[in-house]
Subunit: 398 residues, 4 copies
């Protein structure tokens, strides 16, 4: 008889409260689905489950386009979208308001004739006027790539306004909505979106390992006409079109257990009701901002209006080490927060409130643990005031 | 294809924080053990697991006596102990400092010649002097029944002191340590205990459904000599002696899945190290008391010194409805607390901090949720101060 | 980081095929329910789940009486029924066609004025004529206790015929249907049943640890009028009446995780459809009998007509050691079978086909493993013929 | 309250016996690991788990090179290896004895200066003499790509012999051992392997979704010197070097739950002991071959000596539809088998016996279910004889 599973330490801090920028934890129902038997991918039950997951995803996107699942974490979806959609003669307008927007430029340059980066400071958002201006300056722009929620900055770009302008100028819009989808309302039709890339490990509360794509008919056509669009590759989107049809073969073995979990996540999302889920995120985001500010921190975003409902970034007080702060919050109080990445490394600390972690008590947990850590580091954090502010904000009207 | 599992709602409040007086939740490792295949009870693997659980329980008790598992919630263990140990010609001294002590009197009277209830107010504890006095008045007392932690009151009786006096007068001690075992140090040898009854669903963090008994050699002898001690009954302790021996038949089918979970709980307890576990409970209990008081509540216990490290009872402020308060804390903030029972119904509210729920953030959660509920009911709760006090108390020296 | 769960060895034999007389394994859906968080028993979600389990059980019983859950393995239900229903002035007719019927006599004698055992050989069944005769001889019989499926013998008593006769003579019928319920049709109304005791760990495929009772209005009245019916005891049925009502307190903490699993089992049973479930059992039982006989074994039951659809008993060939045979089947091929108990110890070997273990391949597994074991012991088992016979029997018309 | 998990139908056929060519099911211990909480990927516990998984994988490979995990099903590992290792001026010798070898040619051609396919019939194996000949003809061959177990054919190429020859001629060997690793002994040192690609979903019994790579120092150097080796891409191997070091950032979010499961799978593999695991596969493979032949089928492989121990391919009898046969076996008996792919579609049926599905009863299940299906289709399958032959083969000496 052997011991074969390593489990979490449940020592001094007890449960782990994952309030990170994603993965964000999973509900008991999702964990139960994850732990179901691993079926053969052509087992009739799995085929039915795969079709169900695709159908529920289509329903969750809510647009006229198709839902496609790629078998790799959402960076796969983004890289695959760049590789498939951007032809060698395309001019791409890439909107950069943060680390992810900047990162996409790297992929876009690999495939495009030219990439125009429209860059704003990483605590700001792109405006619709800037996009219009860009098109007026360069009417040959074919593709616009944008990030809805800049997870590293905790900021939102106004895709609801930008999308129609892109359409007006005949551009095709590719959106990274990985950390907003499931936590904020998105509408592929309003956006006139070509491809939207999301993932299960943020507001849906699933495990990382899949990319979930919305693909419009126009995007399918462009990819179909792109001679360099990957086929016979993990980077192919075209290969996975209609993979949910039971009469089709999978291009390769799909990630069975991740699909099990995805299907459960989508059911929970649709059962709770997207408007209810979004209201829950708004409410908790408001409390996270208020709580952090009352604690003594400053929002990273230049304006409150561009803050995301799914993740809140605060500036790290001068002279403090964000890694040490987060390690302390995790070790003493069991709360796992996120720091900054790339250009923002060391500058910000983030409270995630996505999917299963967007609950009323979450800001209290984040404020308390961060407050304890700040005090240890010599910063006079106002924990009591922070908790009170978070609670008060929960009950404010939307 | 069907949907066959009902899962927790994960709506407005998100996760459920079970900070009750028990069951107290379970770690992921325990849930994983619970969800293992249900084996036949004579499967060689299950026999080995049963033996392992018994051995680990013996190790956790730490005394010279035997560990015995009964297949029913800990009330079974208590009723069975009364039925088995108390002969028709026994005089029983029953120590009553709360609802459970009083309740045991009911069982003791069913089997004893005479039961002497030594009763103190339900916010106080029995003293060793009272026990000595009782023996001096009635040297014919044969059995002393006591409750270590009066769960309904959140108070502790000093069994460390009482046990030696019982032994000095030749009595046999029967202790209900259901809600203290696993959260506070107990020593069967110091206690000179005959039978100690505990359960998995409190500080061990298991599911309810089993009774865990410590039985001394003397207790076995007394039960063996008691002609009315149950045999061929669910109330029999004698039937289950040595049931862990692989060459023995079980008296009836043991609760396979509960045993799976118990074994996992005991491993976790022993792996963390009992002294560490007990220190964790002391620390969190201190924070719970301090937090609740700073919130504006008064401890139920007459003195701080008799407060349990596993559950804290507060008086319900005058005019408030404890059921409504707890319902509000559960509904709005996801925190499940306990109320009062029997004589204490409506009078107290309890924060449990047992096993998996004895973590540093637990008092913060309890104070916050109760504070919100109190405010809704018109009571001016000081949540910020309560959180601060809880945090400060965590860091006080023992 | 620690390792805290012990898991099944998955060595030479791979998965364990539990084809015992119960527990009988559990579906992935049931295991998922078992592994859900352990809630406080007064958590609103658990209250709702408890009420749901009770309602589904009522639906599964299908009779006019109440469904009541007791918190202990089904022997608790049987002992409690004896203790509650049998008054000190009652004459009980106890039908004995096997080990369980004989065992019930022990409990009945504890409470009755007189117990008349109507005994037939343990490979036969009670006839309705015998019951009528007994009543004619002793019209003062008040209670008739019967076993529907004598699990140890694999035989069925014709309760459908006996029940009406008991009612005709004004008797109250108490039935042990532990190993038939969920695998064979039972009808409390046709039976005129007072109390029926069943359990989750047989044909429902749950973990052992609960007793599930059907209680008619007349049975409630009798228990209510019985001054010695247990109250304030684990043996009380009366205490648990209406425990599913959310406005009622539980007599003591119910077995939360077992209830979680029970609810899932009942949903699966009702979703599959009782007639479908029963047909599945009939089919598999037919194959088990045919397979075992073709293997070279003889049925234990005197007549095929009285064989249960849930468990099949075969005679152990002369000179062979059934424990060694079963140990061999388990060790080499991973198949766990049952042996005989008490009077039948060493004489029979049983193939269980209950609930999750009543699937078409089960008789093939049992025949193959037992055949291998028989050959090791020197018995010329016809495995190939046994498998063929089992398969042929599967496809025979009902 | 909602129902959010879809579970397997447990109707007429009961449990699903996954005896496919992979995924191959998972043990209860692996499923328990899969269902553990989804942690943030920078949570200290996850970092430790990731490091542990990498270390155990290194131990399981047993060679001097590094173990690297890529976050996508094993086709990712193969495509990434082609992209990373094959420079634009490399001549590649690609060994083709089946569908997978042929498929690799597609990727090799994308990156190589020239690809020489050494092709044999798909029921045969490459010989070491052929490889030597190829090198003698073309001493400019730099890279040799080979498949150890041609899963679609159920055949093995003698990499133990081929590897040294490749090394002798200064070539670098890239091996697809996806379906042999964990079921048959492989030795990276004997092979002089540069890169070996395996996956968790075959003989390790994990979920699909990861690629597991063995990378030698020489392979690292070649990839480092290849200017076109992917970086900043899901296809990059270089990016993931040393990703297990806690002081390193992950290139992107790893598949947390898949890593949890992988770690558990590797522990089980190492705990059982690789030589024991391999012996188990040999034994079951022997039984699968014997059973299928006695049933009336013919092995696909031209010679018994080249049959894999992990999967057995049989020819589909003339005139029969393999899809219909497998659908019947799945529907009536719950056994999920695999068919043929690409060139072999419709021609073969495969019994998988990998990892958790390599148990003694597996060939009995496969033979029985396939036999039933064959009979339904009018083929006179000898099920009894097949079962007997399988059992007899189990006990033959190695």
């Amino acid at each position: 008889m052997s011991e074969t599973v390593r489990h979490s330490e449940q020592g001094p801090t007890g449960p782990i409260f994952t309030l990170s920028a994603g993965p964000t934890g999973a509900t008991p129902a999702t964990l139960a689905a994850l732990g179901q038997p691993v079926l053969y991918h052509y087992d009739p039950e799995f085929l039915e489950l795969y079709a169900s997951a695709t159908k529920l995803l289509h329903q969750a996107f809510g647009g006229p386009g198709d839902a496609v699942i790629l078998q790799g974490e959402s960076v796969l979806g983004l890289e695959a979208a760049a590789a498939s959609l951007i032809s060698a003669d395309d001019v791409v307008l890439n909107l950069v308001s943060g680390v992810f927007g900047k990162g996409f430029s790297f992929w876009a340059r690999r495939y495009a004739k030219e990439v125009i980066d429209l860059t704003v400071p990483f605590n700001a958002s792109i405006t619709v006027a800037q996009v219009r201006q860009a098109f007026e300056a360069r009417p040959d722009i074919k593709i616009v790539s944008a990030v809805h929620c800049e997870t590293p900055s905790g900021t939102i770009n106004p895709i609801d306004e930008i999308g129609p302008v892109v359409a007006e100028f005949g551009g095709l819009l590719l959106v990274d909505a990985v950390s907003s989808f499931g936590g904020m309302a998105i509408d592929p039709a309003t956006w006139h979106a070509g491809i939207i890339v999301v993932g299960p490990q943020k507001c849906l509360g699933g495990p990382p390992g899949l990319s979930l794509l919305y693909v419009s008919e126009e995007a399918w056509q462009r990819m179909g006409q792109n001679p360099l669009a990957p086929r016979g590759s993990i980077l192919s989107i075209l290969d996975w079109r209609d993979a949910d049809r039971v009469d089709r073969l999978f291009p390769f073995t799909p990630s069975v257990s991740d699909i099990n979990a995805l299907e459960a996540c989508l059911r929970q999302y649709l059962d709770e009701g997207p408007p209810n889920v979004h209201a829950r995120h708004r409410r908790v985001a408001r409390a996270a901002r208020a709580g952090g500010e009352a604690l003594g921190l400053s929002l990273w975003a230049a304006e409150r209006a561009i803050c995301s409902d799914t993740v809140t970034a605060f500036q790290v007080p001068a002279g403090l080490d964000e890694r040490a702060l987060r390690a302390d919050a995790r070790k003493r109080m069991g709360v796992m927060l996120s720091g900054g990445q790339a250009e923002l490394a060391g500058k910000i600390i983030r409270f995630g409130h996505m999917g299963p972690s967007a609950y009323p008590m979450a800001p209290v947990l984040a404020v308390t643990a961060m407050g304890q850590a700040l005090r240890s580091a010599g910063f006079a954090a106002e924990i009591g005031a922070g908790v009170e502010a978070a609670l008060a904000a929960l009950d404010e009207p939307d």
